[in-house]
């Protein structure tokens, strides 16, 4: 008798639990996740986000389509990457249109900027921030939730994109990706998210610093243009002016090369493209200059994913650091900001 009662209690407890799991709006959620929820729905509903998704989707489709048609020319019998046919989908280009990862490197920042350039200042301007701050929540919930929500949306987007490309590739070329290729694709997705989150944090910072959304958008785009277009020109200009003569000592030339590369790697876009290349081309062994002695005796075989990751570890660390710095700056200035009604 006792036992059956105990059992029925257990069953009803289980039912309660299931009920709680599936009934929407029965339970009280933590305010942080409520804000995240609201931010995500704002992102997904916004026209801006839809436009960016359409842009990224279309360019991805175009590049992958061209990569597929150029795939047979891209494979050479002696190619050590022959076994990584699937990754070619992301890297091959016919010269007319850049490849997938270059496009993502180009449009990713724009996505990050478009999602966050008005995240704080528009709420201040509309007067919703002071209303939100009058609720019993800690102030940092707002900025943390904005960041987390955007990251969740971006992760979802890039995961979808990578998996769609993979699926389409399987259907079209009829070859399944190997497990290590799949892992590389996932690593690339994570890298994309990291790169976009850097731009996201930068634009959150600008949205706190500048009162007008248009000013912060312009500031973000200015930084983006400088980093992606002008910085490269600047570096090559400097490189040309300090280039050693052709007959200089080898170690001098190496030092020069290292300096120029180091200069180039001060910007996140270079870090991103280095990391992308290494992840997508397993045959890349080093991102710096290699001497003949270092190459001597090397077997021209592709690296494993772990080894590739080791090669780009500094790049990944740099990108993460830049992202964290931007977030810390925005956190600090947001916490100290005096929020008045508009």
């Amino acid at each position: 008798m006792m036992k059956s009662k105990e059992n029925s209690l257990k069953i009803s407890a289980a039912f309660n639990w299931v009920n709680r799991l599936f009934s929407t709006g029965r339970e009280t959620s933590h305010p942080f996740w409520l804000i995240v929820e609201k931010e995500i729905s704002d992102h997904v509903r916004s026209l801006r986000f839809v436009i960016m998704v359409a842009l990224i989707g279309l360019t991805s489709a175009a590049t992958v389509y061209l990569a597929m048609s150029g795939l047979k020319d891209a494979i050479k019998p002696s190619d050590p990457e022959g076994s990584f046919l699937f990754l070619k989908l992301f890297t091959v280009s016919d010269g007319a249109i850049p490849s997938f990862h270059i496009f993502i490197g180009f449009l990713g920042p724009l996505l990050g900027i478009s999602m966050a350039f008005d995240s704080i200042n528009s709420e201040l301007g509309k007067g919703t921030m002071s209303r939100l701050l009058a609720q019993p929540i800690h102030r940092d919930y707002i900025i943390n939730a904005k960041f987390v929500a955007a990251i969740i949306v971006i992760t979802g987007l890039f995961l979808c994109l990578s998996l769609l490309v993979t699926g389409w590739g399987i259907l079209k070329i009829g070859i399944l990706p190997t497990f290590s290729e799949f892992c590389r694709i996932l690593a690339l997705t994570a890298l994309n998210v990291l790169y976009v989150s850097f731009w996201l944090n930068l634009s959150i910072y600008f949205s706190i610093r500048f009162k007008q959304p248009s000013t912060s958008a312009l500031a973000c785009i200015a930084v983006w243009l400088f980093v992606t277009v002008f910085y490269g020109m600047l570096v090559s200009l400097i490189a040309r002016s300090i280039a050693p003569s052709e007959f200089a000592m080898p170690n001098q030339i190496i030092a020069y090369q290292k300096f120029v590369q180091g200069l180039g790697r001060l910007v996140p876009s270079q870090l991103f493209s280095d990391a992308c290349t290494t992840l997508l081309m397993p045959s890349v062994r080093s991102l710096g200059p290699l001497t003949m002695e270092q190459l001597h005796g090397a077997i021209p075989s592709p690296l494993g994913l772990g080894q590739s990751l080791l090669v780009v570890w500094p790049q990944l660390t740099g990108l993460t650091a830049a992202t964290v710095v931007c977030f810390a700056l925005s956190y600090r200035s947001f916490m100290r900001k005096e929020i008045r009604s508009r």
Binding site: T24, G25, R26, E27, T28, S29, P31, L34, I35, K38, D42, R45, E123, K126, G127, T128, M129, S130, R131, L132, L133, A134, Q135, P136, I137, H138, E338, I339, R340, S341, R342
Partner: protein, 323 residues
């Protein structure tokens, strides 16, 4: 019920060298409607921000429902509803969604929040607009939605910063009535700031007059006037009644009255315009003068003692003190 729910002592706030709130002492009792009046830039909003823990004071102490908003801002925000000046809503969401979100943030479950939101929308007369986007709301509707938003958390105290701003007279009257009604029903303490002296004094139990960061007078309108104008003379105005006297006769009579008044003790600033006479006096009553007029055998059409009221307070502090 005379329990202090808001207590401010020695509160000071300055931005750089500019002191916005200067050694402010203020207390509001439970269940009271308190009006914080003052011209623009008097420091009303800053005081309110400090009450909510949204801005840090440079000195002094604040207790709201026994809690220090500097130390425990979240606890204060649980008990205090705040309607900011020119409140903003998420324009692309409906009115219901907006206050539903507030309810959820205050720890209500989805079901409770929805029920409470619908009930409050009915109370403020927005049931029909509940599912319209707030971007389409008029100024008055936004203000009423703001009131519903503030009440979502079942507060003990509500603080309204310039709730009357930008409302038309009829809307304003109805809005203030709504505040009084709701606060009496729920036993709420209301602190509202405004520079609309005339309208606000009708609903407030007590008012504090706030000028350049200081509370210079407190109480109802009469108390305010007493504090502010105790040193000043009382103005009188008298009108003489002319029957069918000839001009010369009238002029002679008038002159005698004028002299009689001028020679009365305490009368200053005398002036005459035709049959209207003006003077200021330290005497609290005009009966002596009236007697003199009767002695001169002239009819007295009226005798008017000018009380210091809203207009004078308004004129003295609001029209000039906008630095």
């Amino acid at each position: 019920m005379d329990q202090e729910i808001i207590k401010i002592t020695g509160l000071t706030k300055s931005y750089g060298t500019h002191t916005v709130v200067n050694n402010l002492n203020l207390s509001v009792n439970k269940g009271e409607i308190y009006g914080l009046l003052g011209p623009n830039g008097a420091g009303k909003s800053t005081t309110i921000l400090m009450l909510m823990g949204l801005s840090e004071p440079n000195g002094g102490s604040i207790r709201v429902a026994g809690i220090d908003p500097v130390r425990q801002p979240v606890d204060v925000k649980r008990k205090v509803g705040y309607l900011p000046e020119d409140v903003g809503f998420y324009d692309e969401r409906t009115g219901l969604d907006n206050i539903f979100y507030t309810g959820r943030l205050n720890g209500l479950s989805g079901k409770e929040a929805k029920e409470k939101a619908m009930w409050l929308l009915e109370r403020v007369g927005l049931t029909d607009a509940a599912n319209k986007k707030t971007g389409t709301y008029s100024r008055g509707m936004r203000q009423r939605l703001g009131l519903a938003d503030v009440l979502m958390k079942s507060p003990e105290v509500i603080i309204l910063d310039e709730p009357t701003l930008g409302l038309d007279p009829e809307g304003l009257r109805r809005f203030l009535e709504l505040i009084v009604e709701l606060s009496r029903e729920e036993g709420l303490t209301v602190l509202l700031s405004s520079h609309h002296l005339q309208q606000v004094q009708q609903v407030c139990d007590r008012m504090g007059l706030f000028v350049s960061g200081r509370l210079i007078a407190e109480g109802n309108v009469r108390d305010l006037a007493k504090t502010l104008f105790s040193q000043e003379l009382i103005s009188y105005e008298a009108g003489l009644y002319r029957e069918n006297q000839t001009d010369a006769e009238w002029e002679r009579i008038r002159q005698s009255v004028v002299e009689a008044i001028q020679n009365t003790e305490g009368v200053t600033n005398f002036s005459a315009e035709g049959d209207r006479l003006f003077w200021a006096s330290s005497l609290p009553s005009g009966h002596e003068i009236a007697n003199k007029i009767f002695e001169a055998k002239v009819g007295l059409a009226y005798l008017n003692k000018k009380e210091f009221g809203l207009d004078e307070i308004y004129h003295k502090y609001f029209s000039t003190a906008t630095q």
